[in-house]
């Protein structure tokens, strides 16, 4: 049995090698994602059976079920799904780009940039009574800008006759420390409940997601994902290392910048809607690599599914396990992520 089958479109203008294992893995994962999606929709203060959830989704639900599912739970779960996808794909691209399996958007400070921006937003646009003077819907824009600016800053500062991967990581770590102290600074400057609000957000949660957010996020994510899939070849080449990539004719520096922007945009998107959910960008690509190997054509979709799974499960645990208390999803991703990270360092110890 052959490992790949070929897919050719438009008389060989486009061709893809499709890995059978990837197809199988993706199918299984998609089924799991779907199952979690349905379970998560059903679970909460009022429990709705999976069958009724499916019924409701197809438009045959009772009025109560409709209300719970469509008004409260669905937007939240869709946002969790999208956020997971964004973070995972961003992490996969970044790891390929930096060629270090331990790099991730949170460690090099991109999520930190988003956090600072949000806290500054709270500070700038609050009036004397601590009410926001502009619509809270601008927060995603602020987060996105913050993440992007930080990503570019890391790139620019690590530029020295080209941009080396090690410098990117180190400078990212330095800047992420700076973003942390700036975040705390601005939190202190505001009143305490504003700090509490900002803190929830910085920890990362999909609490209070609504349809409006889904409407904004969905198209952006789709476009970024399509661009990512097209850029797959560049990541593959980038993984060979700067010299070899140049040797095979890749415009290394240009691609590096482009991929970094792509990864930053994806992270920014996630940070904008769910705050700084940590470690997903690190874990998902790894688990994916263990499942389907490191060719990016396979890695991206599988990472995306795993990322979605991680955030959805973290959110599910966060809002059910300690009910009525809501624990932000970011706490759980960190709690699973850090031991996993240690395990990874152990696995890659000899490379």
């Amino acid at each position: 049995m052959k490992k790949y089958f070929k897919l050719r479109i438009a008389s060989d203008k486009f061709s893809f090698l499709i890995d059978k294992k990837t197809v199988v893995t993706s199918a299984v994962l998609s089924a799991v994602v779907l199952a979690i999606f349905i379970i998560s929709t059903g679970v909460g203060e009022v429990i709705i059976s999976p069958l009724n959830v499916v019924k409701t989704l197809f438009g045959f639900g009772t009025e109560m079920d409709n209300l719970f599912i469509f008004s409260f739970r669905l937007p939240r779960i869709i946002i969790a799904l999208l956020v997971g996808i964004c973070l995972a794909v961003a992490g996969a691209i970044l790891q390929g780009l930096i060629r270090n399996p331990l790099a991730s958007p949170d460690i090099i400070g991109i999520t930190g940039g988003g956090s600072v921006a949000v806290v500054v937003f709270f500070m700038l646009f609050s009036n004397k009574n601590n009410a926001l003077t502009v619509s809270i819907e601008w927060i995603p824009v602020a987060a996105f800008l913050g993440a992007t600016i930080l990503g570019l800053l890391v790139y620019l500062l690590s530029w020295k006759n080209g941009s080396s991967s090690i410098r990117l990581v180190l400078i990212g770590i330095g800047l992420s420390m700076l973003t942390q102290s700036l975040t705390t600074l601005f939190m202190i400057k505001g009143p305490i409940y504003q700090a509490a609000q900002a803190n929830v957000w910085i920890t990362g949660t999909v609490y209070a997601a609504n349809w409006e957010q889904v409407r904004i996020m969905l198209p952006v994510v789709l476009i970024l994902l399509i661009i990512s899939m097209i850029s797959v070849r560049n990541v593959n080449i980038q993984e060979l290392g700067d010299e070899l990539a140049t040797g095979v004719g890749s415009a290394v520096q240009k691609n590096k910048l482009f991929l970094l922007i792509l990864s930053t945009a994806l992270t920014g998107c996630a940070v904008a809607f769910a705050g700084a959910i940590g470690f997903v960008g690190l874990m998902a690509p790894h688990i994916a690599r263990r499942l389907v190997g490191s060719s990016f054509g396979s890695l991206l979709p599988v990472s995306a599914l795993i990322g979605a799974l991680l955030v959805m499960v973290a959110d599910l645990i966060g809002r059910t396990l300690f009910s009525p208390l809501e624990v932000p999803a970011g706490v759980f991703t960190a709690a699973i992520g850090a031991p996993y990270f240690i395990y990874l360092l152990f696995k890659t110890r000899n490379s």
Binding site: N100, L102, D106, I107, L157, S158, K160, I166, R167, V169, L170, I171, I173, G174, L175, S176, M177, L178, Q180, S181, L182, T184, L185, M187, I188, K189, I192, Y193, A195, A196, N199, V200, I202, T203, G278, F279, F322, L325, V327, P328, G330, V331, T333, A334, A335, G337, A338, F341, I342, L345, F346, T348, R349, N350
Partner: protein
């Protein structure tokens, strides 16, 4: 006979010490409440219970002393870590030691309602020790052993973990947020003399011990094999050095919260001044680290007068450009 260069080094060290003392005097007299040297002098010689005298006694004096001790501790801890790990970016904050100690304290405050200073100290030590051990352990996995890159990543990951968990706890427990937020930014403002006195019995011996150990650290920086060849018990030296780092890092966090970058910036500056001899680097770090933190603390009072910026933010602002500079220069170069 002292050589010319030794004399010069002593002179510069004394000069640094004089600057530290001057800055501490500055720390006594500058601030929101207007005072001058005369008032400060009177406050100690003929205390009359006036507002100014009370401020100088109870607020500014502890603050100046804490700044000096914490700055010195962090700088020495950074210098030893850089020597031990051959990593120019090593410091208590990069390796997550600050974040670890911070997390332990937040756990203690929000879950166990601890509020005694003595307890803070021990909890911070425990957090620092745990993190240092984990980071060092993870960083030395594998055939190549301890590499600077692995250590930095392990440290960054542990720092990320602890800060996420800290935030998570604070989300669940908002009253604790109120209590620890200012502390989390790293500050010497409003700290009482008692909190300094509760760590001093550990920190002061650790500083002295670091100076005694400096010759051994010199040998160790030549490489483990050479050090062993010269008859050094490297395991013992490393363990003692690690213990010093934990006490200095944990002690600083217990008193002032996680203050970043002093542990990176000062050792490099000291090395620039006196070369690679740790017998000189460590006392220079003590003096310069204290001076930098006291200076940053004075600045922090004036930037957004009448409010204050936490000094941890000031050191981050001062330190980040320097960090970027070292990171650009890369590992393993002088």
């Amino acid at each position: 006979m002292l050589s010319k260069s030794t004399k010069l080094k002593i002179t510069v060290l004394l000069l640094g010490f004089a600057i530290l003392l001057l800055l501490m005097c500055g720390s006594l007299i500058f601030g929101y409440a207007n005072t001058n040297l005369k008032i400060a002098y009177d406050a100690f010689t003929s205390f009359d219970g006036s507002n100014e005298h009370i401020i100088i006694h109870n607020v500014r004096l502890p603050r100046a002393l804490i700044g000096a001790v914490v700055g010195a501790s962090l700088a020495i801890a950074g210098a030893i870590m850089q020597a031990l790990t051959k990593n120019p970016l090593a410091s208590p904050s990069v390796f997550g030691i600050n974040a670890g100690a911070g997390f332990f304290i937040v756990v203690a405050v929000s879950l166990f309602y601890v509020d005694s200073l003595q307890a803070y100290t021990w909890i911070a030590f425990a957090g620092a020790a745990t993190t240092a051990f984990v980071v060092y352990f993870i960083g030395s996995f594998g055939r190549e052993g301890l590499t600077p890159m692995k250590l930095t990543l392990a440290g960054a990951a542990m720092a990320a973990l602890f800060s996420s968990l800290t935030q998570g706890l604070l989300v669940v427990n908002e009253s604790a947020l109120d209590q620890v937020l200012f502390w989390l930014a790293g500050s010497v403002q409003g700290r009482k003399m008692e909190s300094l006195l509760s760590v001093l019995p550990y920190v002061a011996p650790a500083i002295i011990l670091s100076m005694i150990l400096s010759q051994k650290i010199n040998v160790l920086t030549m490489g483990e094999d050479v050090a062993k060849g010269l008859g050094q018990r490297t395991g013992f030296v490393k363990l003692t050095a690690a213990l010093i780092v934990i006490v200095l890092g944990g002690g600083s966090v217990a008193v002032a919260g996680p203050i970043a970058f002093i542990g990176i910036v000062i050792p490099h500056f000291a090395r620039f001044l006196v070369g690679n001899d740790y017998r000189w680097i460590i006392p220079y770090c003590a003096v310069l680290g204290g001076a930098l933190l006291v200076f940053a603390d004075i600045l922090a009072r004036f930037i957004v007068m009448p409010e204050e910026v936490p000094v941890g933010v000031m050191t981050a602002l001062i330190g980040t450009p320097f960090f970027v500079y070292i990171a650009r220069r890369g590992f393993g170069q002088k």
